[in-house]
């Protein structure tokens, strides 16, 4: 645990220094002024050990030593738990402990259900010094943290595996930089295997009632007690696919970085890429708002440098634009987080210590109701917060009209960074909406959902029209992202099972398809050093294999059934029609424009006669082995998800049903009034 903590601290020094200071300045006075931490119990009683870990059902003992000079009475031993009652403590009634004596309390771990899960609880030992001579007479409480279940560290290893590879990159001997690519590839393969293990172990039927508020692979320890911050990670149906996608895309991004020349500081490049991957993985598994925010910001910095240092001709402009835009979003999210923190009700931390407020996402979701909170600046508290969060996340998605950083960032970014940006980073926005905005503020979500659906429809149609007008292939693909993520918004706003599941599917599908599209753009750019749509034609003549994959990817982007793009769009459209007929109909119109820009792209690159200038450049330079290696997994997923989407939707639908149930909406049917 110590190692873990030090790593986390290390990783958040730069990006979140500002944040830490800001938070300290904002929070510290109130913490110390308003909510004094209960005074530490007198050291006369010592518990050993302070935490107990049960790998399997069984019993263990806590030994209580009276180190003081006065006798002490143990009054009670209570198990405190927020979730399942898997632990029991031996009853303790008025047990006298003379000075220097010791006693044991038996604790038993017996999971109440056979579902695999992790259990967290604490046992509170209440005692009183029964002599006025003792340092502190009266009742006192000390706690011992309890933990049960198996293999708790899978996600932690998954998140930090890329980070652990960075020292290797820096220790690699000078003059052998060429092999850094292989090293980075091996490092990025680790999260893929861990993610595969996670997917294999994931239980799609795991419900809230099964424990840990419905999260699996949970790791949960207290971290920064001053602000009640915990290290809390876990996945559910909303995030499991995204985590797996991130690991895969991280690996593919390394493959796609092969063409970055050795002179351009590969060490730095791959280090940043790996930091980025840690940040992205962290965002999708963090279940504590502080931790979430740390990872959220951790993504920003490497992305900024990757675009700004390894980008195209206007890289500075694009990088700074990206940075400022997203930082603006981050500030809004931060404000909302702080407000949520202070509005939250008292609870206990995972080790049983009392906490006046909490940043724990499941607790904020399930144990807090913010709807009655007094108005702020004349707005309803929940609505104001929802809007802050939404804007913050919408910048990341991006939602029109906050989207103009995206085309510039994409055009200037190197291929691998574009792939990560489109495939994974944009999903941080939609995921954040669902995980935080939708879940914590359900009432405000219902209030705002019609507006979100309208924004979704606008994104779909506006993005598609913008894509149609582009003359740069990469810009076209960038705008297509805006259009596709509009379907996510539409589905999420529908608040029907079909719609929200469709949105989650669309996130994954877009992750796969847009990754493929940007890889293909990179393939062409590597050879031709230009992406002008009007400069090409007939490329299929000389690069038939490339043309095949290209057509497949653009048809997937068009939403062809049998390829992954279709399912999400269909579900979002059908799922939202019951609620928003106009928005859904307008979005369906986007399908036509989508066909137009995708087919028109194929037409201009691959069909027609091949201009003479490309004959020598492109002939005999069809896809090579490394490019195939980076494309094939995504091609397979595009077809696989398109033909057999059931696993993804099965994994998501349990969580979605519980999300909707929490909002008081039916988890059946197609709509009705909100």
């Amino acid at each position: 645990m110590h190692r873990l903590r030090s790593i986390s601290h290390h990783s958040l020094t730069r990006p979140s220094g500002i944040f830490l200071i800001a938070l300290a300045v904002l929070v510290a006075p109130r913490v110390y002024a308003v909510d004094p931490v209960p005074p530490e119990a007198p050291p006369s009683l010592e518990l050993q050990p302070r935490s107990l870990v049960f790998g399997a059902p069984g019993s263990a003992f806590v030994t209580v030593y009276n180190r003081g000079a006065a006798p002490v009475t143990l009054n009670d031993a209570r198990v405190v738990s927020l979730g399942q009652a898997d632990f029991t403590a031996e009853p303790v009634r008025h047990r006298q402990l003379a000075p220097g004596a010791s006693s044991t309390v038996k604790l038993t771990y017996q999971p109440g259900s056979r579902v695999r899960r992790q259990s967290f609880a604490a046992v509170e030992l209440e005692y009183e010094g029964n002599s006025t001579a003792a340092a502190a007479p009266g009742k006192h409480i000390q706690t011992v943290a309890l933990r049960g279940g198996e293999d708790l560290s899978l996600l932690t290893w998954l998140i930090f595996a890329p980070l652990l590879g960075i020292p290797m990159l820096f220790l690699w001997p000078r003059g052998r930089e060429r092999q850094l690519r292989v090293v980075a590839l091996l490092v990025s393969a680790v999260p893929v295997t861990l993610a595969a293990r996670m997917v294999a172990m994931f239980d799609p039927l795991f419900k809230r009632a099964d424990g840990n508020f419905g999260y699996q692979f949970v790791q949960h320890v207290a971290w920064i007690r001053a602000f009640n911050v915990e290290y809390h990670v876990g996945v559910d149906g909303l995030s499991v696919g995204l985590v797996a996608l991130t690991a895969l895309i991280g690996f593919i991004a390394v493959l796609a970085s092969w063409s970055i020349p050795v002179e351009r500081n590969l060490r730095g490049y791959f280090s940043l890429l790996l930091v980025l991957e840690t940040g992205l993985l962290g965002v999708f598994v963090a279940l504590d708002l502080f931790l979430f925010y740390v990872f959220w910001e951790l993504v920003l910095v490497p992305m900024f440098f990757l675009i700004g240092l390894w980008g195209g001709p206007r890289k500075e402009y694009a990088a700074i634009k990206f940075f400022i835009y997203t930082l603006l979003g981050s500030v809004l999210i931060l404000l909302a987080i702080i407000a949520l923190y202070y509005a939250s009700s008292p609870t206990i931390l995972v080790d049983g210590t009392a906490a006046a407020h909490t940043l724990d996402i499941p607790k904020l979701v399930h144990l807090n109701d913010f709807s009655g909170h007094p108005a702020l600046l004349g707005f309803r508290f929940v609505n104001l917060l929802w809007v802050l969060l939404f804007i913050g996340f919408a910048i990341k998605v991006p939602v029109v009209p906050l989207h103009t950083w995206l085309p510039d960032a994409h055009v200037e970014a190197p291929t691998a960074v574009s792939v990560i940006l489109a495939s994974v980073m944009l999903k941080m926005g939609t995921y954040g909406m669902l995980r935080i905005g939708w879940s914590i503020l359900p009432e405000a979500t219902r209030w705002a959902a019609p507006a979100v659906s309208a924004l979704g429809a606008i994104c779909i149609v506006y993005g598609a029209f913008c894509a149609l007008a582009q003359t740069d292939l990469k810009r076209l693909v960038a705008y297509s992202s805006i259009s596709h993520l509009g379907f996510c918004l539409l589905g999420m706003a529908a608040l029907t099972p079909l719609g929200v599941n469709g949105a989650i599917f669309q996130m994954l599908s877009h992750g796969v398809v847009s990754g493929l599209l940007f890889l293909l753009v990179g393939v062409l750019y590597d050879r031709a050093k230009t992406r002008g749509l009007d400069e090409f034609g007939g490329v299929a003549t000389v690069m038939p294999r490339y043309a095949t994959v290209f057509a497949l990817a653009f048809l997937a982007s068009l939403g062809l059934p049998g390829l992954s793009g279709f399912i999400g769009e269909l579900m979002a459209l059908v799922g939202s029609f019951g609620r928003y007929r106009t928005a859904a109909a307008v979005s369906a119109f986007g399908l036509i424009i989508g066909a137009a820009y995708n087919l028109w792209a194929i037409r201009r690159i691959h069909l027609g006669p091949l201009p003479d200038r490309w004959k020598t450049v492109l002939t005999g330079r069809d896809l090579d082995g490394r490019e195939w290696a980076s494309l094939l997994p995504l091609v397979a997923l595009t077809i696989g998800l398109g033909l057999y989407p059931a696993p993804i939707i099965d994994a998501a639908s349990t969580s979605v049903a519980e999300l909707l149930a929490m909002m008081g909406l039916p988890s059946l049917g197609l709509g009705g009034e909100l």
């Binding site: 059934p561 059908v574 069909l607």
Partner: protein
């Protein structure tokens, strides 16, 4: 207590499971082999081998179809004929469960048989026709996939499975139309075909969404909340209503559950639309009138001021219209001629364009609920028939003439589909044969013309297009391609509707059903007249092409090289089919037949529809009058066909001097009524303008705002920077100077004398007290 439901004996039969996946699996396997191994195969054995693999896959499908239809399906009793298979589950969310399921019922069986048979013949032909093309592996892979998609389309058990095939057909046609992708014309035609199809598809998807939304709601009898009854018990089968109801005994012997609510499955949709519900208690139509819950639900809702059912049907019809090239979405079809000829034959005869007719037939139980939508379909179909026929008469390009002929015939099919479905499907079958024959013959003709043409152009004349019929007379094709000429003539007779060729029977059915049918909101007289005109024009353009291509002319100097026996064999087989299928399947009842075979076979599909039409007031036509009407239409059809033939013979048999200038009307017709221009003005140009506007908005407004904010931010930073240096820094500096000076001054107090310190402390305390008292009080 659950409400009692009873049905009218037309519920979807339970059927048995069968390995239906085999049908599309053969061509998929063929596509995999030709696609991935095609190149080595071609290097080793030549292009013919690739075609042979593809054709073998089609033969496999045909055998499988024969076994499944002939063996399994026909073995089941009438009314209980249904084979089904869930290939896998796509997703299941809440109460919406979507499977990739296949169903073989009489309607699918007819389509499967047609697709397998014609597909096989066309593949055989193509194996020879395309053997020398370097792209043969790609061609045959997609030709196979095309057929596989079409099979999934007609076998699909619900909207989603159907749509998989539906779009698969679209994508394969995109690749095949654009097969010679280096030619800009082919590339543009492919793109256009796909985009126009997508227009229909978008409407189709919205139609599904509207339908699902309409079915989710509160049922009248129970008030069950989330909008559906879930699975309910069917407790009794009432006797089938009306006469001629053949299937009566087989339907669901035991009580079974029935789903009422939003569904994407055709069977579930069909059953809940025809099932009736009554309050708990005795089923007594007098005291306890039955309600169709789903129909009631749908009729309660409106969308944009229109009845929901009408909206659903029109949207689904738009989808069908895109695929089946109806006005106004037909302009892609003539352009699609840019693909190789076997593709044209496949698109026009057995697959793709028939998909729309199939959809209407498959959903006829839904469409009959909306007389408004049926009227729209009938009117659009009639218009399409006329537009296509006029355009076909004015074409000089052989393939384009045939393409517009398809457009026109599709109009007939849609009218037939609007009148109940059976006649439309019948025309799909007969048309499949004679149109495939015409196209494949055209392929041979054009091939021969290509070989013969360079010689003619050497005379100094302009090098003419091998597809231009005006130049063909000189080539003497009639003499060099005798079998092709005969087959072509037979197909023309069938197309024109001469008895006893097949087109006569199917066209007659369409006319009769239109005249006798109810359910339209307008009188059929005008439609009948327009269709009669189209029928006359059909005969005219059919024989016009025949006389232009095979007519006697001055040339005959360069006998063209004949086609191989395979190609001729295929064309002749199709011609024989064009004669045989009509009489076989549809020998009319007034000619001494109890019930035509096809009508009887499809009875379970369409039989339940007629009585279920809402509030249709039956206009009683006696059987005798109906027979008279049918005789009348048969005579009229023959007359129109003969008239068309006569006019064509007079005008085109003998070469006429080319008119000095093409009349305006002719060029209007030839351009397909200028629909391309209409598209350009109403859709393409506005779309580009909006796109450019959006791009400008992005660059010129949103980005400028962002950049402006940034620029001003930087400016503000400069100002604050200057303020920082000049004001604050200056202030701080002077303050620090002052502090230093003060320190120097104050150091004088640091003199070590206690009493002076005491004075200072006292003064300080006094100041603090004053401050605390007055400022913080």
């Amino acid at each position: 207590m659950h409400p009692t439901l009873y049905n009218s004996a037309w519920l979807t039969p339970i059927g048995t499971t069968a390995a239906l996946w085999l049908l599309p699996a053969f061509p998929v396997a063929g596509a995999a082999i030709t696609g991935f191994l095609g190149r080595p195969l071609m290097r080793r054995f030549g292009g013919r081998a690739v075609g042979a693999v593809a054709a073998a896959a089609m033969v496999g499908t045909t055998i499988a179809a024969a076994l499944l239809v002939g063996g399994s399906l026909l073995a089941l009793p009438e009314g209980g004929r249904l084979l089904h298979q869930t290939v896998w589950s796509l997703f299941s969310v809440g109460d919406i469960k979507v499977d990739l399921g296949l169903v073989l019922d009489p309607l699918s069986a007819v389509m499967v048989a047609l697709i397998a048979f014609l597909g096989t013949l066309i593949h055989l032909y193509a194996a020879v026709y395309m053997k020398d093309d370097p792209g043969a592996p790609r061609f045959f892979a997609f030709l196979n996939l095309f057929v596989a998609s079409m099979l999934v389309l007609v076998l699909g058990d619900g909207f989603v499975s159907l749509f998989f095939g539906w779009e698969g057909v679209g994508a394969c046609s995109y690749v095949l139309i654009g097969f010679w992708y280096r030619r800009p014309a082919a590339a543009d035609a492919a793109t256009k075909a796909f985009i126009v199809n997508r227009v229909g598809d978008a409407a189709f998807i919205v139609g599904i969404a509207v339908l699902l939304w309409g079915l989710g709601g509160v049922t009248p009898m129970t008030g069950v909340a989330p909008g559906n009854l879930g699975h309910v018990q069917v407790v009794r089968s009432s006797p089938p209503a009306g006469e001629g109801a053949e299937p009566s005994v087989q339907v669901r012997e035991k009580p079974t559950s029935l789903f009422v609510g939003p569904t994407l499955n055709f069977g579930e949709l069909h059953d809940q639309l025809i099932v009736q519900i009554s309050r708990p208690g005795p089923i007594d139509p007098m005291r306890n009138p039955a309600v169709r819950p789903a129909v009631w639900l749908l009729s309660q809702k409106k969308l944009g001021g229109m009845p929901l059912l009408f909206v659903v049907c029109v949207l689904l019809f738009l989808g069908a219209a895109g695929k089946s090239a109806q006005v106004p979405l037909f302009a892609w079809l003539p352009d699609a001629m840019a693909g190789p000829t076997p593709v044209s034959a496949l698109i026009h005869a057995a697959t793709m364009v028939t998909a729309g007719v199939y959809l209407l037939a498959r959903l006829s139980f839904l469409f009959v609920l909306s007389p408004g939508a049926l009227t729209v379909i009938a009117v659009v179909g009639t218009l399409t028939a006329v537009v296509g026929a006029t355009a076909a008469v004015a074409q000089n390009d052989l393939k384009r003439a045939l393409a517009y002929s398809t457009v026109s015939q599709l109009g007939f099919m849609f009218v037939g589909a609007a009148m109940g479905g059976g006649a439309g499907i019948f025309h799909v079958i007969t048309h499949g044969f004679f149109k495939a024959c015409l196209f494949l013959a055209a392929g041979v003709i054009i091939h021969a013309a290509e070989q013969a043409l360079p010689a003619t152009s050497a005379d100094g004349g302009p090098v003419s297009d091998p597809q231009d019929m005006r130049g063909m007379r000189a080539l003497g094709l009639g003499a060099s391609l005798p079998w092709i000429r005969r087959a072509y003539l037979v197909a023309c007779l069938a197309l024109a509707g001469f008895p006893v060729a097949s087109g006569f029977f199917s066209k007659d059915r369409i006319f009769t059903e239109l005249a006798l049918g109810q359910g339209l909101l307008i009188s059929p007289a005008l439609l009948l007249a327009m269709l009669a005109l189209a029928a006359f024009l059909t005969s005219l353009y059919a024989f016009r092409t025949y006389f232009l291509v095979f007519g006697t002319g001055p040339g005959n100097a360069h006998p063209a090289h004949g086609p191989g026996s395979v190609m001729t064999g295929v064309v002749v087989t199709l011609a024989l089919g064009a004669i045989a299928v009509g009489p076989w399947l549809g020998w009319p009842s007034n000619w001494g037949n109890a019930q035509p075979i096809l009508e009887r076979f499809l009875g379970p599909i369409f039989g339940g529809n007629a009585p279920s039409a809402v509030a249709a007031v039956p206009v009683v036509v006696s059987a005798r009058a109906a027979t008279t009407i049918e005789w009348g239409f048969q005579a009229g059809g023959l007359l129109l066909a003969a008239l068309g033939f006569g006019v064509a013979r007079v005008l085109y048999r003998i070469p006429a001097a080319a008119p000095a200038r093409v009349s305006r009307l002719t060029s209007f017709f030839a351009s397909g009524w200028r629909f391309d221009q209409v598209y350009r003005v109403l859709a393409v140009r506005p779309a580009w303008q909006v796109a450019r506007l959006a791009a400008w908005l992005d660059r010129g407004v949103f980005d400028r705002v962002v950049d402006g904010v940034a620029t001003h931010g930087v400016q503000l930073a400069r100002w604050t920077g200057a303020f920082d240096r000049r004001v604050i820094d200056a202030g701080v500096n002077s303050a620090s100077d002052a502090v230093l000076a003060a320190g120097r001054g104050a150091s004088r107090f640091q003199n070590g004398r206690i009493n002076s310190y005491m004075v200072v402390i006292a003064a300080g305390v006094a100041v603090l007290i004053v401050l605390v008292c007055f400022l913080f009080a």
